[in-house]
Amino acid sequence: MIPNNLKYNESHEWVRQEDDIATIGITDYAQSEIQDIVFVELPDVGTELTHKTEFGVIESVKAAFDLYSPVSGEVIEVNESLLDTPEQVNESPYDDGWFLKIRMTDPSELDTLFDAEQYQAHIEAEDA
């Protein structure tokens, strides 16, 4: 199921908004496509991220996948537990497997993202 309370990037990252703070992760669809996640490379706290630009990498057994930031802002927290247990992204993509918290500089960027229904249509189109 695709959570209704999140926004989605076309490159399969999700965003959870609380005021000007955005929490970011990848969707269940993305983790099931990538599978066997063994390493997540994330930026340090304090890094400035830009809307729709690369901010990190996920490594599976087979390949590396780039991550794109759904919003712009400063990284204020990184999920350090992923360093030792990256498999959390496979097991719990919307909760324990979150990546970053960002202080958004332009929350209106959220309006450019998919809602759950649009994201569902997006992955159906990708699978077709």
Partner: protein, 356 residues
């Protein structure tokens, strides 16, 4: 893309497919890590039908096979298997293969999928002894059963024979579940196991007999994804990545499969010269990355700020839980190297292979 006789079976098991050597092969059924660990702890069943089988038989077969191989095929007895390299005149590796000796003048060469046509042409070109060469790849299906439980799994299907008595690198032609099969105690995983050669029209029957027993024992069907991580952990090279036509056996770290004494073979002069001068253009080493970033094929290898080579195979090791790989480097060193992973240098140590 070519499909194996087991394609429909894989589809029914919801395999994800990948292209390999011109074949549409199962990449994974469940998860590469799960399949890998199943082979290490219990068992895995593999479709390796893409591998090629070239028969060399008749008067002159023994002489031809000796001439083609860097290893001493003359040491084989009937029912024995040998890992060997085929080299060109300059000592470059044409392919790495298994030689099966049925009788003195009857051999099967088991070759890499991507090299079937190349090898057949090479063997034919070198055939000045009158041996009969036949590519039997289309008719032959190879199913591998690998893992510590593979003897227990296979046993009940071979009532006429105690399969635990087949020694490493020996094979027996018998029936498995009533199907005529060459049962070979070989593999590409570093585990105990068998490679089973059957006529392709019996491939589904053999797979369907063994599959429930594999699951029952806690094993899994295994795709090429885990086949690659299993062989890498076991320190086994992959042709086309860790070696090629421009790599000699010494440069691939395979000198123990080169027998230079009292025999003649293609590439011997070049290999003898390289051995005498010790002048290797490159060396294959095993490495372990010291953090969790994965060094993959093609990444540059550095030492003291200078590029010294490239990664030839690299993957996260499911057993060791760290990234490992092979690199081909231009210098002799045991000191720490650095690998350029997405523009950042990550330290790696050179380690002995096999990795596990």
């Amino acid at each position: 893309m070519k499909r194996t006789p087991l394609y429909e079976v894989h589809k029914s098991l919801n395999a994800k497919f990948t292209e390999f050597g011109g074949w549409e092969m199962p990449l994974q059924y469940s998860s590469i890590v799960k399949e890998h660990l199943a082979v290490r702890s219990t068992a895995g069943l593999f479709d390796l039908s893409h591998m090629g089988e070239i028969d060399v038989k008749g008067e002159g077969a023994n002489e031809l096979v000796q001439k083609l191989c860097t290893n001493d095929v003359g040491r084989l007895v009937d029912g024995q298997v040998q890992y060997t390299l085929l080299c060109n005149e300059t000592g470059g590796i044409v392919d790495d293969i298994l030689v099966y000796r049925h009788t003195e003048n009857d051999y099967t060469l088991v070759v890499n999928a991507a090299n079937i046509d190349k090898d057949r042409r090479w063997v034919e070109k070198q055939n000045d002894t009158g041996a009969v060469i036949a590519d039997d790849s289309e008719n032959t299906t190879l199913i591998a059963l690998q893992g510590p439980k593979s003897i227990d799994i296979l046993k009940p299907f071979v009532p006429e024979l105690d399969v635990s008595e087949i020694s490493f690198f020996r094979f027996v032609v018998d029936e498995v579940s009533g199907i005529p099969t060459a049962i070979s105690r070989t593999g590409y995983t570093g585990e105990i196991g068998f490679e089973l050669y059957v006529n392709s029209d019996k491939a589904e029957d053999l797979w369907n007999s063994l599959y429930p027993a594999v699951l029952e024992a806690g094993g899994l069907p295994v795709g090429l994804g885990a086949r690659d991580t299993l062989r890498l952990e076991a320190g086994l090279r992959l042709y086309g990545m860790d070696m090629d036509d421009d790599t000699t056996p010494f440069e691939a770290g395979l000198s123990r499969f080169v027998k230079l004494d009292n025999r003649d073979f293609i590439g011997k002069d070049a290999l003898l010269a390289q051995k005498e001068t010790g002048n290797l253009r490159k060396r294959l080493v095993g490495f372990q990355v010291l953090d969790r970033a994965v060094a993959r094929c093609g990444y540059d290898v550095y030492q003291n700020g200078t590029v010294i080579g490239k990664v030839t195979s690299g993957a996260p090791s499911p057993s060791l839980k760290c990234p490992i790989g092979f690199a081909s480097i231009s210098i002799k060193t045991k000191k720490t190297i650095e690998i350029d992973i997405r523009g950042k240098l990550h330290p790696a140590k050179i380690v002995k292979v096999p990795f596990i």
